[in-house]
Structures are given as C-alpha cells and as structure tokens.
C-alpha cells in the first residue's frame, strides 16, 4: 500500500482521468460521426448545443485530463522501463503536476476569452 502518499494520488488521478477520458472518447466519436448525415443533418444543431459555455468549460477539464494522463503515463513508462524511475517517482509526479499547470496557462489564455466572447 502507498498509504496515501504521492504514488497513490498519482494513481487515483490517473484512474479518474482515464475513465473520464474513455467515456468522453466514446461520446466524442458518436457526435463527430453525425457528419455522415450531411450539412442539413443533426450535426450543426448538436455542435451548437455543445458550444454552450458549460460544455466549453467541460472541454477545458477534458484537456486538463488529457495532459495529466499523458504526462503521468510517461512517468509510469519511466518507472516500468528504467532503473531509476521508481526511485524518483515522487519528484517525477510533482514534475507532472508542474508541467500540467504550465501547459494549462496558454490553453486557458486561448480558450477562456473565446468562452467569454472577448476573443
């Protein structure tokens, strides 16, 4: 057991983001596949629905989930395939959190004004 230290938090966030992203992926493929019904089909109405601000904020959460899951996945790969990965897993996790935050800044800078309609 990790006894609630960095490794366990890394796992919990990885599992939660992973499940959420997998469910988002299923929904995302279904809604994009509506293009098959053509320009007069349900696609534009569906997309207009998703362009409402709560869903756009949700999309920011999805992006955050992707970035965290990807970077923590690289940490897991380092733990599994290098001799030093397990030893440095805790500082690596803080690196994952730091890099996720760092990447989040330009993403928020780009998307928040779009949502507020001042882009």
């Amino acid at each position: 057991m990790y006894r609630g230290r960095e490794g366990q938090w890394a796992f919990v966030l990885h599992r939660m983001s992973g499940v959420a992203l997998a469910l988002f992926l299923l929904l995302h493929v279904i809604d994009i596949s509506l293009v098959m019904w053509g320009p007069d089909g349900p696609f534009n109405a569906f997309l207009a629905f998703y362009h409402q601000w709560p869903f756009r904020v949700g999309l920011i959460v999805v992006i955050a989930g992707v970035v965290y899951h990807a970077l923590n996945g690289l940490r897991i790969i380092m733990m599994d395939f290098t001799t030093w990965g397990v030893k440095y897993q805790a500082p690596l996790w803080y690196g994952v959190l730091g890099l996720t935050t760092l990447i989040g800044i330009p993403v928020l800078w780009k998307i928040v004004p779009e949502i507020l309609g001042i882009a």
């Binding site: 057991m1 599992r15 992973g18 499940v19 992203l21 997998a22 992926l25 299923l26 493929v29 279904i30 994009i32 596949s33 293009v35 098959m36 053509g38 320009p39 089909g41 696609f43 534009n44 997309l47 362009h51 756009r56 999309l59 992006i63 992707v66 990807a70 970077l71 996945g73 690289l74 897991i76 790969i77 733990m79 599994d80 395939f81 397990v86 330009p106 993403v107 780009k110 998307i111 779009e114 949502i115 882009a119």
Partner: protein, 142 residues
C-alpha cells in the same frame, strides 16, 4: 486488498500475469500510451489551439475529413485511443466490480458499445468523400 499489487517492471509483469495476452496488454498500454501522447496533443493543438473550438461546425469537420492526411491521422488516433481506453475501462471493471455476473455483464456492455463506436468512427472517416459531398452541396445551391 484482495488483488495483487500492479506489476511495476517488465520482469514483474512477466511474473505477475498468468497469460501471455495479459502481458501483451500490459505492453500495449505503454506503447499505445506513448504514441497517444503525440497523437492527442496534435489533435488538441489543431482543434482547440489553432482553431476556436466554439466555432466548429459541419464545414470545418468536412473540410478536415476531406484531407487524406487527417483521415489517416484520425484513424490511428481512433484505433489506439479506443483500444487503450476500452482496455483501461476493462481494468477498472475488474478492479471495482466484484460479483462475477455483474462483471461479465459490464464487460459485454462495454465491448458492445466500443464495437459500435469503432464502426461509427471508421464509417465517418472513410465511407464518404467529403470533397465530392461539398461539390454536390455547392452544385445544389447554384
């Protein structure tokens, strides 16, 4: 905890998993995960950073899917992301659903939905020629 701790190294994984297929999935999660870092970041860059995602409509998606490079890129993304995601959900089902009947039911439901979604995705990517479709729509409007 009833379940053995997850394996931490490749040698660990070899010793932990009873079957070659589970070991193969363990390797697959790492290989596909590594590829997906680049595939998803590229996808997010194109559709959320280089473009205002709030303005995505039929014309935008059709013009993207008319490009062969986007079709090939998105096909790899669809294949790897679905396999990676569905296998991850399978791990979660095995971790949290204890009763055998419910576990089987959850997996059957998951694999059915995943199969339908995969077919829908492949159809959307490859069945129609969007450039021809665009020409046809423009011809109708003339």
């Amino acid at each position: 905890m009833a379940r053995a701790a997850a394996p931490r190294t490749f040698r660990d994984a070899q010793a932990t998993y009873q079957t070659n297929s589970e070991l193969a999935w363990w390797v697959f999660m790492r290989v596909s995960g590594f590829l997906l870092v680049f595939l998803t970041f590229g996808h997010l860059w194109a559709n959320n950073m280089a473009f205002n995602a709030g303005e995505i409509d039929f014309d935008y998606v059709a013009s993207r899917l008319a490009q062969p490079s986007v079709r090939v890129y998105d096909s790899f993304l669809l294949l790897f992301a679905l396999l990676h995601g569905v296998n991850g959900l399978r791990y979660s089902i095995e971790d949290y659903i204890q009763r055998p009947q419910r576990r089987v039911a959850a997996k059957v439901a998951l694999f059915t939905v995943a199969g339908i979604v995969f077919v829908l995705g492949v159809m959307a990517l490859w069945t129609f020629s969007f450039s021809e479709m665009g020409d046809a729509v423009r011809a109708l409007n003339e």
